[in-house]
Structures are given as structure tokens and as C-alpha cells.
């Protein structure tokens, strides 16, 4: 994904830290003073919701996390855990060194700008989904979002989205039950087919049109 050039990476080696699989990197509600760059391995972002641990995201090489700590010591909104099977290598940057790090590593600075731009877009897109009030519309719009994210898709043809009900449920901010129900309805209507790790969408343009027109109605009433 978003790797820095090799020599830029070597310069940052002194910030390197390793975690064994399963080890907590930081914990929800802990004050956040560092942000991290994934050098090797995978990191899961989890949150305990209603007494269950829920995976919100899985990060890979080149990803950044904990970036809200760049400016302030807000409590962490989720936990980060090293994933197996191998050791996870991270670069760990403390807010206090941030200026010096940026000064010495303009490439990293640029990379952060790119990552923030994407995060802002994703966050806004999620907000748009959450503002829809019917579960089925939300689920449709999650599929729209996943389709839009793939540059290579021809949205005028049927598409296969790599996703699963769990991910859709997280994005839609819905209970699993509601998500399943909405997905089943769409499947019964012949609009989608649900596989274990993918969803086949016959005509995503339909979903886009429907969501867009509902979105407009929301504000004109």
C-alpha cells in the first residue's frame, strides 16, 4: 500500500518497535500520545461494544493509526492489537517529537497528508451513510461506497464487492440483526447475492440513484 521509500524507512529505524501476535499496542480510553506507522504485519483495531469485542478495521503495511494523537492527548477511541501469525513491526512517534520527525522526514509528512485526506473522505462518506434513516438504505449506501472505492470497477455492469455482513454492519452503524435483515431483503428481491466473503451486486447504479434521491428528499421536506 502506502510505503515510504526504502531509504526514508531506514532513517526512521530508531522509532521501530515490535509486538508479538495478540499483544495490545494501545488500549481504548488510554490517553493517546503516540501515533504509529505499520512497517510489517497486521494490526486490528477493536472496540468493546455491549460486552463484545468488535473488530472495526484491519491495518496493513504502510497504514497509519493513532493519528489523532498528533495534535492532542485525547483518550483512544479504540484499541490496537497486533495480529498474527508473525511479529508486527511498527514505527512509533510521540507527539512531542512530531516537529522534529517531520522536519527530518518530509516524505513522511507528505504521506500523512495523503492519509489524512483519505480518512476525512471516508469519515464524511460514513457520516452520509449514517444520516440515512432506513436500514435498507444504509446497507445500500455501504455497497455504493465500497463500489466507488474501487477505481477499476465499471459501475454500469454487475460487480463483486469483497466484503462481509460484519463489515457492512460496522459501516452502517446498525445492529447485526438489522443488517442481516436488510441484506436478505435485497437478496430476495434479486438485487444482490451474498457469499461468505463477497457480495455480488447486479446493478449498483440503481442503488446510487435511489440513495441520492432519498438524500435529496431528506432536505426538501
Amino acid at each position: 500500500m502506502l510505503l515510504l521509500e526504502k531509504n526514508a524507512m531506514e532513517k526512521l529505524d530508531k522509532f521501530s518497535v515490535d509486538y508479538a501476535p495478540g499483544e495490545i499496542i494501545f488500549c481504548e480510553y488510554e490517553p493517546g500520545n503516540e501515533f504509529y506507522f505499520v512497517k510489517k504485519g497486521r494490526v486490528s483495531i477493536v472496540k468493546i461494544i455491549n460486552n463484545r469485542e468488535k473488530t472495526l478495521d484491519v491495518l496493513e503495511e504502510g497504514d497509519v493509526f493513532g493519528e489523532m494523537a498528533i495534535l492532542e492527548a485525547e483518550p483512544r477511541s479504540a484499541s490496537a492489537v497486533a495480529m498474527g501469525p508473525e511479529t508486527v513491526s511498527l514505527l512509533k512517534f510521540h507527539r512531542d517529537n512530531f516537529d522534529a520527525i517531520l522536519q527530518g522526514n518530509p516524505q513522511l509528512a507528505y504521506r500523512l497528508l495523503v492519509i489524512f485526506s483519505k480518512r476525512i473522505y471516508d469519515a464524511k462518506r460514513r457520516l452520509m451513510i449514517l444520516l440515512l434513516n432506513e436500514p435498507q438504505l444504509r446497507v445500500m449506501d455501504v455497497l455504493n461506497m465500497l463500489a466507488e472505492a474501487e477505481q477499476k470497477f465499471d459501475l454500469d455492469s454487475p460487480i463483486i464487492l469483497k466484503t462481509n455482513p460484519n463489515e457492512i454492519c460496522n459501516w452502517a452503524g446498525l445492529p447485526m440483526e438489522d443488517t442481516q435483515k436488510a441484506l436478505t431483503q435485497l437478496a430476495n428481491l434479486g438485487k444482490i447475492e451474498i457469499q461468505a466473503d463477497s457480495v455480488f451486486v447486479k446493478n449498483i447504479r440503481d442503488f446510487q440513484r435511489l440513495v441520492n434521491s432519498r438524500r435529496k428528499q431528506m432536505f426538501t421536506r
Partner: protein, 385 residues
């Protein structure tokens, strides 16, 4: 229309032209050289149109180009305009040579991200203010219960590191011992009170001189009858400057932040334990009377209440009380009037003036909606009795 100047292209537009439309895909980033550009977009929560003016020296189109997603706003010219058109490569080389610009953009970006996160939580109904201390302990308990002992140990140890005198310190210590000794069945005493003392800093700073504080005739809470009714929830989500709104091009470093960014900065500083630095920023906002009726009216209002809180934290209780009282007079319809009354109650409490404290707290507790403040105010009232 285009002419190369060095490596970067300059382009001129007539007044009334569109530089790009919302939904366009493009990798160009612009710096306005001369003239006026207007960005317009719809606010996602309300569908209302938001306008943003770009001034010479400012960038626009940055985020969508960097993130490689469609433009989120339409950019049109209000006068004849000259722009510099940068490719991503041009932009990268400018940025690599000027870390001050990156830092400023990062700060604007991270504020935007925070605002959107806040809006998301509001939609999801996750707005309750939680106490990180109690929650961190609960995380440890969750892992303990689910027998993930190494994770539990992590959380409890962190708890002890951050809150050695915390309400759950004894229990955390007990858990650490339990885990290390393999005793996984120990029952803890009932969960501790997670009462937050938001004014502990002021408590520490000697309080002798305040006994005469507020003994003037103005004994009752100010103008409270006015907002018994009509406490409508007009709490619009902060998501106003959602654009590529950093300012000042490559030269200016500090100035040019929008009031929304300023207040976020001040809140960050306050939250990270630096009220002293937050104070002048908030003061600057509330002294700018031009904000009162513009697009930043909400921010202007919020800055007043934040200012009161900051003064309180700094131990300037009399000033703080004045700030809260002015707030209630100035914005009787504000949702935050309740917070202002509650905090005034706390100040009187600290000053040992129980009756006044009770009057303010009672008022705050009686105001709809029933939220965290209601709850805290009731607790304080019980404490007073």
C-alpha cells in the same frame, strides 16, 4: 489560456467561470494567485449550501486530489482570476521543501476529522461524556472476564500507570496480583464511584480569599426565568468548514485559522491539560464581535462557555463566574446555558457558598433534556446536603 511559468502552470479564468464541479475527478491542486474564488458545497447533515471564499495565497482542491476522490465542492470565480495549477508531483515538491505548510495542513485536517467524528457520534447517539479512567478499568474487567489475561494485565497496568490514585486503583492492583498469582476467581468490591471532579485543579489552589465572593445583592442566579421555556434543541453539529480551508499559502504560519479551527485548537489544548494556552485563543474569538451574527455565530457562542471553563480551571473563579453569567445573559436560548449554570454552581460550591451553589445546581438539574449535566448536578446537590 495556459502558460508555463517555470515548472508550474498558470491559468487565467474570466469572472463567473467554473474551475471544477463537485463530482469531477482530477489530480490538480490550485493556489489562488489573484482574484476571488468561491467554493460551494452542501452540508451533509442539513443539505444547506455552505460557501467558502478563497483568498490569494490559499490552496484549494487539496484533499480530493491527494485522496484521489471526486471533488466535494464546486469552485467558481467571482472575479477575473489567476491560479497556479499544481500536479501532485508539484505539490509534493513544494510540501517537501516547506514543512511549516504541512504542519498547518495536518492541523486543519485533524481538526476536520475530529469534527466529522463528533458528528458521527451524534448521529449514533454516542455523545455521552465518559470518564476515561473508569472506562479503562472496565476494559481490563472485560478482558479479565473473558479470560484474556494478558490483555487484562495490560489494561490494569496502564490504569495504575495513569491513575495511581484513581478510584479503581485498589481494584486494579488486586487484579494484577490475581492474574500474576493465577487466582482468577476473586470477587472485587462493588465498582467504585466514577464521580468526576471537574474542578479539582481549583481546589488545590488555596481558596482563602473567596469568602466574600458574591456577597453583593445579586444573590439569585441571573435571569433564569427567561429560559424556563423554549429550550429547543438548536444544537447544530459543527461541520461548517469542511473544505480545503487552510490558509496562507507558503508564508504565513499562525494567522488565518478560521474561528472553528481556533476553537478546536483551544479545546485540544484544554483537553490536554494546557488551559493557559487555550485562554488567549478563546479570548480572541469572543472579542471579535463581527463573529456574532455571521456563519461562525455558533462558534462565537461556544467560545464563551469554553472561556468560562478555562478560567475556572485556571483558578480565576471570579472571572469565570462573570463569564458564565454573561453567557447566560447573552445566549439565554443556548443549549449550553445549562452548563453555564452548572459550572456557576460548582464555583459557589468551591467558595463554600452552599445556598447559592444549591440554587444554581437545582436550576441546572431541572432543565431538559435529562443528560450528564442533570445527573452531575443532582449528585452535587446530594453532596451539599
Amino acid at each position: 489560456m495556459s502558460s508555463g511559468v517555470g515548472k508550474v502552470t498558470t491559468r487565467s479564468y474570466k469572472s463567473g467561470s467554473v474551475v471544477y464541479f463537485e463530482g469531477d475527478k482530477s489530480e490538480y491542486i490550485y493556489i489562488l494567485k489573484a482574484g476571488k474564488v468561491l467554493l460551494t458545497y452542501l452540508k451533509p447533515e442539513t443539505g444547506e449550501e455552505v460557501k467558502e471564499h478563497i483568498k490569494p495565497g490559499e490552496f484549494f482542491g487539496v484533499k480530493s486530489a491527494l485522496g484521489r476522490y471526486p471533488r466535494e465542492e464546486t469552485a467558481q470565480t467571482l472575479t477575473d482570476v489567476v491560479v497556479l495549477v499544481l500536479t501532485l508531483g508539484d505539490f509534493e515538491s513544494i510540501v517537501l521543501g516547506n514543512i511549516a505548510v504541512v504542519k498547518k495542513m495536518l492541523s486543519v485536517f485533524s481538526n476536520q476529522l475530529r469534527r466529522i467524528g463528533k458528528a458521527q457520534r451524534e448521529v449514533l447517539g454516542e455523545t455521552n461524556v465518559v470518564n476515561p479512567e473508569a472506562e479503562l478499568f472496565k476494559i481490563g474487567e472485560y478482558y479479565f472476564r473473558t479470560q484474556k489475561y494478558s490483555q487484562a494485565l495490560y489494561a490494569f497496568k496502564k490504569y495504575m500507570g495513569y491513575y495511581p490514585d484513581g478510584l479503581n486503583a485498589q481494584n486494579s492492583m488486586q487484579r494484577i496480583k490475581d492474574i500474576q498469582s493465577g487466582n482468577f476467581s476473586n470477587e472485587l468490591p462493588p465498582p467504585s464511584d466514577d464521580f468526576q471532579d471537574s474542578s479539582s485543579a481549583a481546589n488545590d489552589s488555596g481558596f482563602g480569599g473567596f469568602s466574600d465572593f458574591g456577597t453583593d445583592s445579586n444573590d439569585s442566579p441571573p435571569d433564569m426565568t427567561d429560559f424556563d421555556s423554549g429550550f429547543s434543541v438548536s444544537h447544530a453539529t459543527e461541520l461548517s468548514s469542511e473544505m480545503d480551508d487552510f490558509l496562507g499559502g507558503t508564508s504565513s504560519a499562525g494567522g488565518g485559522l478560521s474561528p472553528e479551527d481556533k476553537i478546536e485548537n483551544a479545546r485540544s489544548l484544554f483537553a490536554s491539560g494546557d488551559p493557559r494556552s487555550a485562554e488567549p485563543i478563546l479570548k480572541e474569538i469572543i472579542e471579535d464581535a463581527s463573529l456574532e451574527h455571521g456563519a461562525s455565530a455558533k462558534t462565537f457562542e461556544e467560545a464563551h462557555i469554553e472561556y468560562g471553563k478555562v478560567l475556572m480551571k485556571l483558578g480565576r473563579l471570579q472571572d469565570s463566574l462573570t463569564a458564565f453569567s454573561n453567557f447566560v445573559k447573552k445566549f439565554p436560548q443556548s443549549k449550553s446555558a445549562k452548563a453555564a449554570l452548572y459550572n456557576s454552581g460548582l464555583i459557589f460550591m468551591q467558595a463554600g457558598q452552599k445556598q447559592k451553589a444549591a440554587a444554581y445546581l437545582q436550576k441546572a438539574a431541572s432543565m431538559p433534556p435529562a443528560d450528564d449535566i442533570t445527573f452531575d448536578a443532582k449528585r452535587r446537590l446530594t453532596q451539599l446536603q
